[in-house]
């Protein structure tokens, strides 16, 4: 009877859009141990960033991930600006917030869809992704691309958003919100959904801190931390209250993200309303020297860049610590004891982004 089922879950697996393998040890269908096996999308971006020059790096780091790409660029630019001693024009800071929050919206929609798919709710997946297309249209219009928008540059942003586009964005967001009301209602109150999420993959606040969880995973466990509180970009003016839930289960994580969608909608509107009329970029100057840390809040949590420069053309070291990287340990902790059927739900509940994790 000591025998256990040991199976690979991934790398290529239809519930996982990205390759990661969990080595699952099961008894019947109860998970006894889950170990992640990664490295399928490891590229070596940190090293490449030491070989490419400062401006090229912007394009490199935003391709660490296609979901949270803008914020990667933002984090990098912000760190470099600090090393170079640049002050970003206020309009640029506001535009950065707008794009960041739109990114968060699209990322959360994407996640809500995938999450619905993880427990087999195909039509809900479709609803969220249909809404998400509205956001993609906004990106296409305002930044010239759907996915990698390349809107950030050192010293500011590359493009301005015209008033007309701002208006259209507001309109679109209105439609989006209406659709979101309906779909999020299902996500929060549907019987079958609750059956699949409530009480699954519980992470206590204490554990969340000790395991170093980040973002919604951390906040769903009742820890009030959000890197936007540090006031980067224009968040010093557009104050953000962290969204906190206490249950620490999959349901709470969904709820945090749903509430964050509303928060983001509000932030975009406030940012558009308060958009100052200044330049959108300053020219980068000088060769940076020194070490700094840049922290921003990604849809999945806190992103940390450590930059070390030595006054040359190229960076001495770029360290990227992404939120999913931090959430792997909590995941390993959450899985044992759950059913196999809940594995996708729990895995998805941390909103894993492997390309970010492995860089």
């Amino acid at each position: 009877m000591a025998q256990r089922t040991v199976i690979p879950f991934g790398p290529q697996h239809p519930v996982l859009p990205e390759p990661i393998q969990l080595k699952l040890t099961l008894k019947d269908e109860i998970v006894e141990e889950a170990l992640p096996h990664i490295g399928y999308v490891h590229r070596g971006v940190e090293k490449a960033a030491e070989r490419m020059d400062y401006t090229q790096n912007v394009f490199l780091v935003e391709r660490i991930c296609g979901i949270c790409s803008f914020i990667h660029a933002l984090c990098y630019c912000q760190g470099l600006e600090r090393l170079m001693g640049l002050e970003v024009p206020r309009r640029a800071a506001y535009l950065r917030v707008i794009w960041s929050e739109l990114h968060r919206l699209q990322s959360h929609h994407l996640w809500l869809g995938l999450y619905a798919d993880a427990f087999g709710f195909e039509s809900l997946f479709m609803e969220f992704w249909r809404s998400r297309e509205m956001l993609m249209d906004i990106f296409e219009k305002t930044a010239g691309s759907r996915v990698i928008i390349s809107a950030c540059c050192i010293g500011g942003v590359r493009r301005d958003i015209s008033d007309q586009h701002l208006q259209e964005t507001l309109e679109t967001l209105k439609t989006l919100e209406a659709a979101f009301d309906k779909s999020s209602e299902v996500m929060l109150n549907d019987y079958t959904v609750k059956k699949r999420t409530v009480g699954k993959g519980v992470l206590q606040a204490d554990k969340a801190i000790m395991l170093g969880a980040a973002g919604p995973v951390l906040r769903a466990s009742g820890v009030e931390q959000d890197a936007r509180q540090t006031g980067f970009a224009a968040y010093d003016e557009l104050r953000v209250e962290p969204v906190v839930e206490t249950a620490g289960d999959c349901y709470a994580r969904a709820k945090v993200r749903i509430r964050e969608v509303r928060q983001s909608l509000d932030l975009v509107r406030r940012a558009i309303a308060g958009l100052p009329d200044t330049d959108i970029a300053v020219r980068p100057k000088g060769r940076p020297n020194g070490r700094t840390i840049s922290r921003v809040e990604q849809p999945r949590g806190e992103l940390l860049y450590f930059l070390a420069a030595n006054g040359s053309q190229k960076l001495e070291r770029l360290r990227v610590r992404t939120p999913t990287f931090a959430n792997v340990a909590p995941l390993v902790h959450m899985l044992p004891g759950s059913e196999l059927a809940d594995v996708p739900v729990i895995v998805l509940s941390i909103d894993p982004c492997i390309s970010c994790t492995e860089r």
């Binding site: 394009f59 490199l60 609803e127 010239g144 309906k182």
Partner: protein
């Protein structure tokens, strides 16, 4: 809840966009395929230095430019760098192809002027 949504969907027009031939065009400013205007190029190489993907190769001496659309990530850095407006990103996306190919052109041979 979901019931009302799906029923509404059933009786409204699908959200599906028509595909070719009536495919919709991208909005102004979309970063699509990269195209060069051979005539205006001065082979200064500014685009090549800025290109993060090493998609452009400029030989300033031989006055030739080679562009590999398979490497290009359509970031637009080249277009920003080119003072001659020689390289531009089209609105239309780059279409799939079955074979690898590159774009290459070169300028008139350098007039042999003694320095």
């Amino acid at each position: 809840m979901m019931l009302s949504s799906v029923i509404r969907n059933l009786f409204s027009k699908p959200a599906t966009r028509p595909f070719a031939p009536a495919a919709r065009t991208a909005p102004q400013g979309y970063r699509g395929a990269v195209e060069f205007e051979e005539e205006v190029c001065i082979y200064c190489g500014a685009c090549a230095t800025r290109c993060p993907a090493n998609a452009i190769c400029v030989d300033r001496v031989a006055k030739s430019l080679e562009f590999d659309p398979f490497k290009c990530v359509q970031c637009g850095a080249c277009a920003e760098a080119c003072k001659k407006g020689c390289v531009q990103l089209q609105i239309d996306y780059q279409h799939p192809v079955a074979v690898r190919h590159t774009v290459a052109f070169h300028g008139p041979p350098k007039p042999t002027v003694a320095p």
